[in-house]
């Protein structure tokens, strides 16, 4: 296991030194940044807290960072934490009542779905500031400015790799914590968990806050990298579904699951974009939808879940 991780780590250090195209590097950066967001989603998703609200956290992180930079000249080093704080606050405002009044399962998904749309519509409606549905671009500075968090592609690769690795470390630490045991118990039987002395609300809010904060951070960074923000691609149901799809297809119970999901979705996305161009606008979501249904029915633990199960059986 250790060898496999070392090899993976070493392989990921190579790309900036290889003669690969800018486009390939671009795809790798996208995969790493989105993998970070998907990993963040599974931190709560794996415990039955299926959130369709992560588009909201992503949008808040992205837009807060970019707007503070463009309008007040506030560096992303402050903009990102403020975006994260906003997302955490929203997560608490939604999460606390949901937990207190036992809004779980489908109802929880619906509440968070509404949240996502509220954020997207707010961005669209606040056109004078956010650029509305046309999107916006963070004000450009000469490349590789640490202050503006704007880098060349190679530097971005290192940033993305570092952030992705931090995401995995956090996932692992949650996986080994008492919170994980408590959340397993809660998803098995919430009433019994409360009866044995687990503070259900507190545990749920803990994973929700971690998940929302990391998602907002990921969103902020994706915005900084792409230098273009659009409410359709950074907030709203579309993004939420993309996150859920990637996490489920990759496998939400295995540490590398969301990363595999990111490879799958982003490669698929690029493939469809090249294949259909602008001729068949609804194609990508349609294919996503069909694949999501197939995965949920035939592979509920995702690609990594199936692989892990095979390996376990082989060893036994």
């Amino acid at each position: 296991m250790k060898i496999a991780w070392t090899l993976l780590g070493a392989a990921l250090l190579l790309p900036p030194f290889l003669p690969i195209s800018e486009y390939t590097l671009h795809i790798l950066i996208l995969v790493l940044l989105w993998a970070f967001v998907y990993t963040a989603w599974t931190i709560m998703g794996r415990f039955g807290l299926v959130s369709l609200g992560h588009g909201a956290f992503l949008g808040l992180g992205t837009y807060a960072t970019a707007l503070l930079w463009n309008h007040w000249g506030l560096t992303p080093w402050l903009g990102l934490p403020l975006g994260i704080a906003t997302a955490v606050l929203v997560a608490l405002v939604i999460g606390y009542p949901c937990s207190r009044f036992k809004v779980v399962g489908h109802y929880f998904a619906l509440v968070t779905l509404a949240l996502t749309e509220v954020v997207r519509l707010s961005i669209v409606a606040w056109r004078d500031v956010t650029g509305g549905s046309l999107g916006m671009t963070p004000d450009l500075v000469p490349a590789n400015s640490l202050m503006a968090l704007q880098f060349t592609r190679i530097t971005w690769y290192w940033v993305a790799l570092g952030v992705w690795a931090v995401g995995l470390v956090i996932w692992h630490r949650v996986d080994r914590s008492m919170t994980r045991s408590a959340m397993d118990a809660i998803s098995d039987d919430e009433t019994a968990a409360a009866a044995v002395g687990i503070d259900v609300t507190r545990q749920k809010l803990t994973v929700t806050i971690i998940s929302a904060a990391l998602t907002a951070l990921g969103g902020g960074l994706i915005g900084q990298y792409q230098m273009y923000l659009n409410p359709e691609t950074m907030a709203g149901v579309g993004v939420s579904l993309q996150i859920v799809f990637a996490a489920i297809s990759g496998g939400m119970y295995v540490i590398l699951g969301p990363t595999v999901g990111a490879v799958l979705t982003i490669v698929l996305q690029e493939f469809l974009r090249v294949l259909f161009g602008t001729h068949f606008i609804g194609a990508a979501p349609t294919i996503y939808g069909i694949m999501l249904i197939l995965f949920i029915i035939f592979m509920p633990t995702g690609i990594c879940g199936v692989v892990a199960e095979r390996m376990r059986r082989k060893r036994a």
Partner: protein, 234 residues
């Protein structure tokens, strides 16, 4: 130790309990018996804070439990063995037991209490790595009691420990309860199995359609003609 007075509780527009009063002294074993639907489980859920009350007081060692959330009630020293055991079926026996010592106060004592529960129930040590949902009903009950004991409670609430078990297993479960008593725990037990439970408690209350009817020592109730006819079938 526990004083319940004028308790009223229910679900929606349904009033499951009204004007229920009872006391449990330290070291005592007290039963609440009564037919299905009398409100026995509701009483247990109200004491352990899982269900809000509408009126009345529940005082545990001088603390009014009115606004105390369930996890704090466990920390105060009340552990609840819920109806139908309510184990975490996908977790192993040991993980289930671990959950019983979840509160910050109990966590440092996890290892020693686990050892103690295993010495009390050697069967659980054998089954430690088994997924709880795959055990027999009696073993699950044992695990549920062990889980409650992990918080080292002062008062143990047991909700129908014999429910859904074969007669032979029921005997074993009541033996377990007897051993818990010998260990010095104060027990409040709710049961439909009136005959057997009266053999192992000091006092009992009869709960009938949401309110306390008769009460007295186990011996008094066993010799009460009305009880004998209604519950003991004699």
């Amino acid at each position: 130790m526990l004083e319940v007075s004028g308790l009223e509780a229910g679900y929606g527009s349904f009033r499951a309990l009204h004007d229920v009063s009872l006391t449990v002294a330290a070291g005592e074993a007290v039963a609440v018996v009564g037919p299905n639907g009398a409100g026995k489980t509701t009483l247990m859920r109200t004491v352990s804070g899982l269900l809000g009350r509408r009126a009345g007081r529940i005082v545990f060692e001088g603390t009014d439990l009115a606004t105390v959330p369930p996890h704090r009630i466990v920390e105060l020293g009340i552990a609840h063995v819920p109806e139908n055991r309510r184990l975490f079926p996908r977790l192993t026996v040991e993980e289930n037991l671990k959950m019983g010592a979840f509160s910050p106060a109990a966590r440092p004592h996890f290892a020693e209490r686990l050892e103690w529960v295993y010495s009390l129930f050697p069967r659980m040590r054998e089954r430690r790595a088994q997924v709880a949902g795959t055990m027999s009903g009696g073993e699950q009950q044992m695990c549920a009691i062990g889980r409650a004991l992990m918080s080292k409670p002062k008062l143990l609430l047991m909700d129908e420990p014999s429910a859904g078990l074969a007669p032979v297993i029921v005997d074993q479960v009541f033996d377990l309860v007897r051993r818990i008593r010998q260990e010095g725990f104060t027990v409040l037990i709710v049961e439909q199995n009136v005959r057997q439970v009266l053999e192992l408690v000091d006092r009992a209350y009869v709960l009938e359609v949401g309110t306390i009817g008769k009460s007295g020592t186990a011996a008094e109730l066993k010799s009460d003609p009305a009880i004998r006819e209604a519950y003991l079938g004699i």
